[in-house]
């Protein structure tokens, strides 16, 4: 019941807003949406409090038969992989609604769509039936398309259509993968566990093929280079609250799908192509960071930064150690918070200063005429993204690195180099935006009021708190990720992080092959 409420409450709220008989003032529409979202956050806290940390499998299950001949059932559950993402979704939706401008065109439609996106995403995270997941995955797409197309920037039509087409293709690929898995494996239904049990009967080549289809599908959503071209346009053209949702939560549907259905359903195939994935991860990290360095628009820079960070998630998944997987899941959450903060601040800068161009921005740290707090938080966000310890980005990346080093040493080291490039573009961004001399002849910016600062402060506190106390970041997912790693480990005798001896052995083997010396 708990999980269903989480999914259907926003629908209820949306219906309320959408079908309210009288005219609703903009203020009231927003207030209503905010109330619904606040209740949702409270409910998420409730779910957290009911979550049993000793279990690695799905909890709080709800099973209802729906269309039995199809194999479609209403089957929900939550585990350590989905719980942090559900929480992230609730929080960021709240922030998106809170930070939506007071005056928008068609406010009722806007908030209805935002709430529907929330439903779609939560539903996808909680669905334990492949078809149900697909339904929710598609449900989220259309409102989001409209949110970009109607409330976006100047090139919104182009961006939204590109987004729509890409994500539709992604949906089709995922559906094809799901259908292939279920039918070829002769599963009794589309239920996650039903499919899971039959997958191992498939020949490995077929498994790899299906995995390839799924990776392509979720890779578009994540996105993984070179399937990413929709992202910079969509993120940049979307209004700041929508960009927060897109980058903070929506992208996580992709990584979630990769871990849940790629790694979770096809561990053997996943393992067999893991070296390939690790190299791909390096390419993504480097590509995202290097492309970000070349950008002139700060929002675009943050968008490319987001692409690069998905590489760490992929690396952690590829390495398949307990540490690397828990690191990857932590990275999803950490990235969600950091990206939300960055997009939020960039949004404030854009509305106050009127530009996102690096060449036009200058000296915002100035205490009198500038935006000092926004600048200070931008430093914090940038540094968190660059992986400075004490902030949430570091510990997630570190767990990925330490976990994957034993398996893919040179790939890991190259990803460490990638964090160096991350520092480069953030220093460029901060130096141009926050530092420098503010032109006091031009600097008549509207004041940033406390209600505007509040969401940024909230995110900053989360980033700092989880960086200093990472226990609260990792321990939700640890049992589940450990089970995932063990499941994958069963398929082959591969280096296991738990035994230091084995790792040391593999390390020596590696160096004997001189692979390290060429890459350190």
């Amino acid at each position: 019941m708990l999980l269903s409420l989480l999914i259907w409450l926003p629908v209820l709220g949306a219906a309320l807003i959408g079908f309210w008989p009288q005219n609703l003032s903009e203020q009231w529409v927003k207030r209503l949406a905010l109330i619904v979202s606040t209740v949702l956050v409270g409910q998420t806290v409730w779910v957290i409090s009911q979550f049993d940390l000793s279990q690695s499998g799905f909890q709080m299950r709800e099973i209802l038969d729906w269309i039995e001949p199809l194999g479609l059932s209403y089957h929900l559950g939550v585990d350590g992989l989905s719980l942090p993402l559900v929480v992230l979704n609730s929080l960021l939706t709240w922030i998106a609604i809170y930070s939506s401008p007071a005056k928008t065109i068609r406010p009722r439609l806007y908030y209805v769509l935002v709430l529907l996106v929330n439903t779609g995403v939560t539903g996808a995270f909680l669905a334990q039936n492949l078809l149900l997941f697909f339904l929710f995955y598609e449900v989220e797409l259309i409102p989001l398309y409209l949110l970009i197309a109607v409330w976006g920037g100047s090139k919104r039509g182009y961006a939204a259509t590109k987004f729509l087409i890409y994500t539709a293709v992604s949906g089709i690929l995922i559906l094809a993968g799901f259908l292939g898995l279920t039918w070829l494996g002769h599963a009794s239904s589309f239920d996650y566990e039903a499919v899971q049990t039959v997958v191992s009967t498939l020949p490995l080549v077929l498994q790899v093929l299906l995995l390839g289809v799924l990776i392509l599908g979720f890779g578009i959503k994540t996105p993984l280079v070179p399937l990413h071209t929709w992202l910079p346009d969509a993120y940049v053209e979307a209004s700041p609250p929508i960009a927060i949702l897109l980058g903070g939560v929506l992208a996580k549907l992709g990584t979630y799908g990769l871990f849940r259905f790629g790694l979770g359903l096809l561990p053997e195939a996943w393992k067999s192509i893991a070296p390939l994935l690790a190299v791909w991860a390096v390419v993504i990290v480097m590509y995202g960071a290097l492309a970000a360095i070349a950008q002139h628009d700060i929002k675009r820079m943050v968008a490319y930064s987001s692409i690069g960070h998905m590489g760490y998630v992929l690396l952690g998944g590829a390495a398949l150690t307990e540490l690397s997987i828990v690191g990857a899941v932590s990275q999803m959450v950490a990235h969600g918070f950091i990206l939300a903060l960055l997009f939020y601040l960039v949004g404030i800068i854009e509305t106050k200063v009127g530009t996102r161009e690096l060449s036009a921005l200058n000296g915002l740290m100035s205490p009198v005429r500038g935006l000092p707090l926004v600048s200070a938080l931008l430093v914090l966000g940038g540094m968190a993204s660059a992986g400075i310890p004490g902030l949430v980005g570091f510990i997630a990346e570190f767990l990925v690195f330490q976990g994957s080093y034993a398996v893919f040493s040179w790939q890991t080291l190259l990803c460490v180099v990638g964090t160096g490039f991350t520092a480069v573009y953030f220093v460029i961004l901060l130096n141009r935006t926050c530092f420098g001399r503010l032109d006091s002849a031009l600097a008549y910016y509207p004041k940033v009021v406390w209600s505007e600062r509040f969401p940024a402060l909230l995110l900053a506190v989360a980033i700092l708190f989880l960086g200093v106390q990472p226990y609260w970041l990792v321990h939700w997912s640890e049992p589940t990720t450990a089970a995932m790693a063990q499941m994958a480990a069963a398929y082959e005798t591969a280096p296991n992080l738990m035994s230091v001896k084995a790792v040391a052995q593999s390390f020596t083997d590696l160096t004997n092959r001189d692979s390290l010396s060429t890459n350190l």
Partner: protein, 619 residues
Amino acid sequence: MGIDLMPQFWIETIWLVPCYSLLGAALTIPWSPGILSRTGPRPAGYINLLMTFCSFLHSAIALSKIWGQPAQQVYFPWLQVAHLDLTLPLEISALSISAMALVTGLNFMAQLYAVGYMEMDWGWARFFGFLAFFEAGMCALALCNSIFFSFMILEILTLGTYVLVGLWFSQSLVVSGARDAFLTKRVGDLLLLMGVLALWPIAGTWNFTELAQWAESNPTLPPGTATLLGLALIAGPMGKCAQFPLHLWLDEAMEGPLPSTILRNSVVVATGAWVLIKLEPVLALSPVVMTTMIGIGAVSAVGGTLIAIAQIDIKRALSYSVTAYMGLVFIAVGTQQNEAALLLVLIHAIAMALLVMSTGTVVWSNITQDLTQLGGLWSRRPFSGISYIVGTFALIGLPPLGGFWALLKLIDGLWGTHPLLVVVVLLVNSLTAFSLTREFGLIFGGKPTPMTVRAPEVLWPMIIPMTLAMGVALHLPLILQTLNLLPDWAVLNKDAALVLTWSSILGLSLGAVVYLNPSIQKPIQLPVPSVQKLLAADFYTPQIYRATIVLGVAILSRITDWIDRFIVDGFINAIGLASILSGESLKFSNTGQSQSYLLTIVVGISVIGLMLVWSILPV
């Protein structure tokens, strides 16, 4: 409470010291712009002075209690995840608490100095907050007994350097200085991170004590592994200690406020040396690493002093001397003389702090740090002059002050085994003596210049810490004597002491002959201008970086961007989406949203419908 319990109380609560500082840093927040404006920003500074004094007091008391006692280990569990136990080990020893006392004492002086120096500045809250932040980081580093947590602290301090150097962010040189400081140190940090990552699978621990035991047990490592590991591990300290080729940042960091330079030049650079010393047993596993360390140290030491002599900016000249002395520390660690290294770090910290404070008063009262515009200040600012002389004598190998004993210890250790390195140390000592005399001559000697004619008295908050530091520098040998840290006269290497003293006298007198002699025309021109230019321009390091690494990254990023625009995106467009996209976007912008709704609904329904149909078919 029994009287026996009290000492343990001070020792066991020593971890509070970084917390005081951190609290002080946090307490500056109300005075950041736009919150508390009625009081002005000054209370932020006073609070931090108080907190730092608490830190110092606690360290000093704990030091007196723990002296002569064995080290204690305290553990703070931080994170246990997937069989990786990240517990913060603290080593409470006489050494670590001494380091904390040094850091907090120097920071107290630097903060008091800043009260005067930053009199007119509006960024007090930020400045004092960052200083306290640095102090907290360094105290934590002193206690921290794990390379992983040390790495974390070093990297956080890298961020600290960025914001502290960038304090006066509206000046372009400051901005580029902050950038280069951050990125150069980050390069070192990331290599160190690679070392940290690689160390775990091999050694199974990050604890310094356990690492030393592990290294002593002669683990069988392939030489290549040991070398690469060691090289990665020394990269972090190289960046922190401003060693060639990662030395550029220290010079540029001089654009930051001078009171922070007191801290930076004395103890912040020493954070690298500290970690290096702690890692020495691991580094010693590879002879190549030790040789590399010696090589880097020697190049930095000689190169640094030569460059220092060619600088006309007083702060930059001093910063290169810092590089040089940290080079000597590298040599000491490279030849496994950890005690000499620690002693060097200690005397360098105090002498350098004194030198920076002394020159700071000159900069403050003459509004220039250009050596060519200074001169004739001896009669006007004698106190600064005396401080400068004491600082000089305390740094170089001149008995009876501290520098002599540290350098003597180093030379003594090198005497029979590394004659070449003895020559290097003596050369560096001579050149440093020359360099510091040169600066003294240009500032205090000669005739007053238009800039120095007025030279008003500086504020007392600057004089007091300078005097204090002078007192400490003068008494340091006595303190060391009472702690039995100085060698006995009977076992003293008399030859070494003699050459060391003579090398200092040689440098001093040569400097005096050239720079205190009015008949020699200043500025001095070397017979070979290109050599002078080479030194003045820091071996063209900035240009070399710009032409290699910076250019490389820029080109790579351009190429990536080009590929992204024209190949990845272009390819997508070429396969037919282009026409649809451009057509659709045109349609949306012309005729409003209605079609787009229609389109989406159609697409949505058809996708779902298709799915339903597909799944029904085989049933």
